[in-house]
């Protein structure tokens, strides 16, 4: 008995040794920075100053009472609420359409995946041109059709929606690729069974086979998209800088402004902690409900 447990302990020790490089990297790159950030959020540290003082929960109190903070939370939430259904739905639709297109499939796959592979800062600049109120392509088309142009980013009513449109464009391709992988895993037999059982339309096949079988994929895609949407930053940084009237001020952009323009490291750290909690909650939902829902045949 003792021999056995001694052996087990030896095994555990070897396991720990073998895992140590990964553990070390995890601690260095993830755990320590998070702890450091949490620590900074309790101070009044400003970049460039020589002093650092303990501030308790002051930073959190400040942000609780800061209307700009709440505006950026609201903007981020609204952005996420538009982008997630939009890019998940379009991604699924594109995947379903491409699925049937034999030899053109590789082309479509690459075409839709390009936004994921490209540098998004550069893409944001392209979008800025496309959406330019006077010379942009979109308004030129509207003008040609005799319609009034849209001041995409100049108007507080449309700015966030314009940003969401770009977000949907960015994420649809990635989601499509994930959905295509999910579609490929659906057994053909189920479609055959549905056809023999009397399913006639594409809608029958979607309702009886595709959608139920894609359940776990859809859940995963939605979570991933949500995390990516909450992290929206580039468009706000490159095109709008939070304008007009803070309509495009999103969480990550607020952090950036606080940390690198106002040098309020303590306050920015508090914002980051809030941001981390939100993403951690989403990831937790995924871990809790995503793993167990395995479609079986």
């Amino acid at each position: 008995m003792t021999a056995l447990s001694a052996q087990k302990r030896a095994e555990a020790r070897i396991g720990l040794v073998l895992a140590s490089p990964a553990i070390l990297l995890l601690v260095l790159l993830v755990v320590l920075p998070v702890l450091a950030t949490a620590g900074f959020s309790l101070t009044d540290y400003r970049l460039g100053t020589q002093t650092i003082g303990f501030a308790g929960l002051d930073n959190y109190g400040t942000l609780w009472n800061d209307p700009r903070f709440w505006q950026s939370v609201g903007n981020t939430a609204l952005y996420t609420l538009i982008v997630v259904p939009g890019s998940v739905g379009l991604g699924l639709g594109a995947a379903l359409l491409i699925e049937g297109r034999g030899w053109l499939r590789p082309f479509y796959r690459v075409a839709y995946f390009l936004p994921v592979a490209s540098t998004f800062i550069a893409m944001a600049i392209v979008w800025e041109f496309l959406m330019n109120p006077s010379v942009g392509l979109f308004n030129q088309i509207l003008f040609a059709l005799g319609l009034p142009g849209i001041n995409f980013f100049g108007n507080a009513q449309t700015a966030l929606f314009s940003m969401a449109a770009i977000g949907i464009w960015e994420l649809t391709g990635f989601n499509m690729v994930l959905f295509m992988a999910g579609l490929a895993a659906i057994p053909r037999d189920l479609y055959d069974a549905c056809a023999v059982d009397g399913g006639e339309s594409g809608w029958d096949r979607f309702r009886m086979v595709t959608w139920p079988m894609l359940g776990p994929t859809t859940f995963f895609v939605a979570i991933i998209t949500m995390i990516r949407a909450v992290r929206v930053f580039e468009v706000a940084a490159v095109i709008t800088q939070g304008r007009p009237e803070g309509a495009t001020e999103v969480l990550l952009y607020s952090i950036y402004v606080q940390a690198f323009q106002y040098f309020n490291i303590g306050y920015a750290a508090a914002l980051i902690v809030v941001f981390l909690v939100v993403t951690a909650l989403i990831a937790l939902v995924q871990a809790r409900f995503g793993g167990g829902r395995e479609a079986s045949r």
């Binding site: 055959d192 069974a193 056809a195 023999v196 009397g198 399913g199 006639e200 029958d204 139920p212 479609a295």
Partner: protein, 385 residues
């Protein structure tokens, strides 16, 4: 009341992208209520044929009739055909009850009628306890029964079963096989059953269709194919183990097989006529038809061999032995048989005390004769339609 639904396939062909023929012109008439087993190695076209009948694939040419209807171009749902899939293909998000009801809901049946039929089928297949479970909560055998239930609930004109037992363990397979046979008898519905398992073919079929590379090798009742296989492939396919194949030489009214010799006078008349004028032949000796030779066998074909190994299966024993009469050309024979054959021979016997050497004989009428191309001689394989 048994509806009469005969299935007729006329010159059905199918090929995928250029050149690869999956099915050469295929003809079959399945009588109403008949259970036909399509059997063959993987890739022989048997599953494709089933999909063509179901309408899941389009045929290149030919005609399919079911009862008095021409269903060649009909949609799958219009064919009144039910199909059971190898992986059962149950809808994972629906309960057993909903799975059974789905085909009826598609037929726009009223709810009370659906409920009644589901209850009836559930009783027939002992699914009552399982009605509210989902497929993921069922065992393999239970899923199989649900798949059967979903097929019979529509009272189709034809059943198609695609390797329905291959995902079950051996014990359950035998049991479910019997259940399928009973069910088919009771309902009297014509059934086409695809398998690669020769035991299923022998035990289930009214008639067996042996396919190889998209081409029919033989069609007939299993006993008949066993007794009079049309070629070496059919002989090797149906039976617990393939026959022992020997090469023979026809000379002056006898066949020389290595050191042994077999006079024509011992053979049935039809065989004698068919063998006359030939030179090279193959002899097929079923392992279970070999017997220990007594001295009075005299001139008959007697095999002397040294035992190399043995395996015991219940009360029978497979005795492997080598003999100088063995056929040298195993590569050619393996190609004809579509499986790997060695020059080791086997004797299946209930005799438990066999020595290190064997002396075996076979009744001349039990010997299968094949020409150099592997086609049967003397016994013309059963009908090819």
């Amino acid at each position: 009341m048994i509806a009469m639904h005969k299935l007729v396939l006329r010159s059905v062909t199918k090929s995928y992208t250029k050149g690869t023929t999956v099915l050469k012109p295929f003809d079959l008439v399945a009588q109403s209520g008949e259970l036909i087993v399509l059997v063959g190695p993987s890739g022989c076209g048997k599953s494709t044929l089933l999909k063509l009948i179901a309408g899941l694939e389009k045929l290149d040419d030919g005609q399919i009739l079911l009862g008095d209807r021409d269903i060649t171009d009909a949609e799958p749902r219009q064919r009144k055909i039910a199909m059971v899939f190898q992986n059962y293909a149950l809808y994972p998000h629906l309960t057993v009850r909903e799975n059974l009801a789905y085909p009826l809901r598609r037929q726009k049946l009223r709810m009370p009628a659906i409920t009644e039929k589901v209850a009836m089928v559930a009783r027939q297949l002992r699914l009552e306890e399982l009605l509210d479970r989902r497929p993921s909560q069922l065992s393999g055998g239970q899923k199989q029964r649900v798949a059967m239930g979903r097929a019979i609930i529509r009272e189709p004109d034809l059943f198609l079963l695609d390797e329905p037992l291959s995902n079950l363990d051996a014990a359950l397979r035998t049991h479910v096989r019997g259940e399928i046979r009973d069910l088919q008898r009771r309902l009297g519905t014509t059934m086409i059953y695809v398998t690669h398992d020769q035991v299923e073919a022998q035990t289930l079929a009214d008639r067996v269709v042996i396919l190889r590379d998209g081409e029919v090798q033989q069609i007939g009742p299993p006993q008949e194919i066993y007794a009079r296989p049309a070629n070496i492939f059919a002989a090797a396919f149906l039976g617990a183990a393939p026959p022992n194949f020997l090469a023979g030489r026809v000379i002056n009214g006898r066949i020389d097989v290595g050191q042994a010799s077999l006079p024509f006078s011992d053979l049935p008349g039809e065989c004698r006529t068919a063998l006359a004028g030939r030179e090279q032949v193959y002899l097929g000796l079923r392992p279970e038809l070999l017997r220990a030779a007594d001295d009075h066998y005299g001139d008959h074909l007697v095999l002397h061999g040294a035992v190399s190994s043995r395996e015991i299966v219940g009360n029978t024993q497979n005795v492997y032995f080598r003999t100088d009469t063995a056929c040298a050309d195993m590569t050619r024979l393996s190609a004809l048989a579509g499986r790997y054959l060695t020059d080791e021979l086997v004797w299946t016997t209930e005799n438990s005390n066999t020595g290190d050497t064997v002396k075996l004989a076979i009744r001349p009428e039990d010997i299968l004769f094949f020409d150099a191309e592997g086609q049967a001689i003397g016994t013309h394989g059963s009908d090819t339609l």
